[in-house]
Subunit: 448 residues, 2 copies
């Protein structure tokens, strides 16, 4: 039994839904389908979920919301009419929408319930269409599917008790279409996951029913070895391990929702990322383990927006607890950090720029000088991190040489190297302005 | 005013003492002389300090000590007779020795007092010899010099109150000869520094009198760019900064006692390491700052005896406090660590092998599994660390490339790279068995 999840672009138009139906038809083991809300039909289009958020905000603020209300409904009407489905379905969706708007619940609960309507309607439409073309198919509400979550609106977490309930879905007959992105608390309150959360639902359901495969249909052919906006036509990645995917998505690979990998990983369900528009392509497989001969550099991820806080003090390594005290100051100021590599008399703390306002920077620097009496405190902003990712990287002679040569050839200074702490990646810190040059050069060295 | 310290080999024989006197004569600004105990006269010889320790242990254990007692005295007799000094000096030394042995004090105090007799006698002999050849010279006991220390036998620490007292030595006339290696507590108890502590006395006195230079006379021409047992005839280092010296001495450079640099550093007294046997050579200067054009790789230090404790857990970086809990387990077990580089879902802790017995390893691994539920815990023993050291290293494009290329050319796998946390060094972890090959290759890349 496979679980297939279809993303926003796969649900955006009637024509896309026909492709989805055809994919389902192609493989009878595709028994459970999880869907997103209709996404963009063209580059400048607005996603249904964004329309629903706008609608909710206008309504809550007492502004005119009729125009956006109309836009939301027209997205669903367009699909329903083009697929020649019963218009009672549109009435059903409109009733749900009206119900949520008029219901006497908190603004937060209203917004969460509105956001869920995109996925919920998608699931109803796909299920009706599958029936119309002769499938035995049914819409299954997340509550009936057993998706029980914590009470965190907009950031719900799955509860362990869900999985045995979800396992019972295996017994149901026909194709089950489940809306992604939301679940219900034990008290029956609707809660959404974080944005992009349909991937999470798919992964939860795949883990729950112990699927042989979790297929994630998107609008890209595969995961690429490097960001295609930096290197054109990059190599496709055929197979990735969960670990490799984690490291890649940490530094800018956004194909697959990071949190979504967790349930699949825990039950070791393989994941396949495919393109709805080219379902014959193999896509990218995410698996638990690779054969030794497949172990090499699989990708180069990169992200900007890092800062490095450098602190040096002569004889630091004789001062017990220096590092701990420094991290305590950061914790006091509510700043989480990514890494804290240390030398003998030096310590660097890598922080996401977004977490470090100018005011916090000033405060922290002041406290470090006053409380720790260092020789130097320097904050470097605008750093970029590059991750060279691959299983077996650590046991291959010359990988560091290849990488540092590529960066030097691009005439880029390396501010930081962190290698060996991770089994599957090597991390380089450079100036953000040098990023594209360094990544291109690395790509060519490892993939040409 | 300069402070000159002469090490054990410079005080080992009458001939060596004559060289010392000649060095003192050469530069009238060499006003304060600090001396070690007579060291080895030939490769298989025993240092006086070791004889004194044997003597003390035999005496305390109630064993026959007469033979060693005789050996100690004969070391001093030989020098005194060859220098044609008054034999009353030998009687004075023998009386001191007898006094200490028979005195009703603790074994620890007795051992410390015995150990100090090597330096103390050296100072008396040199002072007498300088007088005999026409200098105005005097022996100054550390108590009179103002060297006040904490009550830690064998590991005394200088007290801040000492420095103003030591400053008063500037007013004394003639050459002052001070025994190294020991001081007195405020209660007048004799305490030795850690082994090799004459370097510490020299640095304390140089800082106290605010010397223009602290000269450290040894039996090597200079500090070398690499361990001469790995690379023959290595390049001599002309100038080092305190920071560079710290990083080099951390990983195996033992020319200069690490602790000894502290007082000189605090008062920014330049240090010069010279050879008593070739005083015309420039030696190695240790200074606070270098000119930008002098900034480059100055040395390659290396040391074996490291372990790496690798812990991985899928989604570690979402688990707040994982690293802290791991370090707490180590702290509980009394294990200090050198570095703790972290990846996203991985953490490595670098520990000195000597601190991690098999029993402790077992205990720690068990606790990590039980308390932190990781995916993997692996201890790699027999690691070596290589430090490529140099001011300005971080701002030079291609240094990492050069280093990693050198290591790859030696067919050595890099287990760990830590770069960027220190301003002046780059650290590589490799298998200890590969050490010599990697260091040779690095040396040739940076110094040929």
């Amino acid at each position: 039994m496979k679980v297939a999840k279809f993303g926003g672009s796969s649900m955006a138009t009637a024509a896309q839904l026909q492709k989805v139906a055809s994919i389902i038809k192609d493989d009878p083991s595709r028994k459970i389908i999880v869907v997103s809300a209709p996404g963009k039909r063209f580059a400048d289009d607005v996603k249904t979920t964004d329309l629903l958020i706008q609608l909710g905000e206008s309504y809550i603020n007492g502004e005119h919301y009729e125009e956006i209300y109309g836009k939301v409904l027209s997205r669903f009407r367009e699909i329903i009419e083009e697929l020649l489905l019963n218009t009672a379905l549109l009435e059903d969706i409109e009733n749900t929408l009206k119900d949520v708007l008029s219901k006497d619940i908190s603004s937060i609960a209203k917004l969460d319930a509105l956001k869920s309507i995109g996925e919920d309607s998608s699931a109803k439409i796909l299920s009706a269409y599958l029936q119309a073309i002769g499938f035995e198919a049914s819409y299954v509400n997340p509550k009936d599917a057993g998706i029980i979550v914590s009470n965190n609106p907009g950031n719900a977490q799955i509860l362990d008790s869900s999985f045995t309930k979800i396992y019972a879905l295996r017994e149901k007959v026909g194709i089950l279409v489940i809306p992604g992105f939301f679940g219900y608390t034990e008290d029956g309150e609707l809660m959404t996951f974080s944005r992009g959360g349909s991937d999470i639902t798919g992964s939860i359901v795949a883990a729950g029913v112990e699927a042989t495969l979790y297929e994630n249909f998107t609008d890209v052919d595969s995961v690429y070895a490097v960001n295609p906006t930096i290197v054109s036509n990059p190599k496709e990645i055929k197979t990735l391990t969960y670990k490799e995917m984690r490291e890649l998505s940490y530094a800018g690979f956004s194909v697959f929702h990071d949190e979504a990998l967790i349930p699949a990983f825990k039950k070791q369900i393989p994941v396949c990322i495919k393109n709805t528009n080219k379902p014959h392509l193999p896509g990218t497989n995410i698996v638990a383990e690779k054969k030794p001969e497949e172990k090499c550099v699989v990708g180069i991820a990169s992200d900007t927006g890092f800062s490095s806080l450098y602190v040096s003090k002569y004889l630091m390594n004789r001062e017990i607890g220096f590092g701990r005290k420094l991290l305590n100051i950061l914790e006091d100021e509510g700043i989480s950090f990514e890494h804290a590599p240390s030398g003998i008399d030096d310590l660097s703390v890598i922080i996401r720029d977004s977490k470090l306002s100018k005011a916090k920077e000033k405060n922290i620097t002041k406290r470090i000088y006053e409380e720790l009496h260092p020789d130097t405190v320097i904050l470097h902003r605008d750093l970029a991190m590059i991750m060279v990712v691959g299983e077996g990287l650590m046991n291959t002679i010359g990988v560091a040489q290849k990488a540092t040569t590529a960066i030097a050839n691009a005439n880029v200074n390396i501010e930081m190297i962190n290698q060996g702490s991770s089994e599957v990646s090597m991390m380089f810190g450079i100036q953000a302005a040098d990023l594209n040059r360094a990544v291109e050069s690395l790509y060519h060295v490892f993939f040409d």
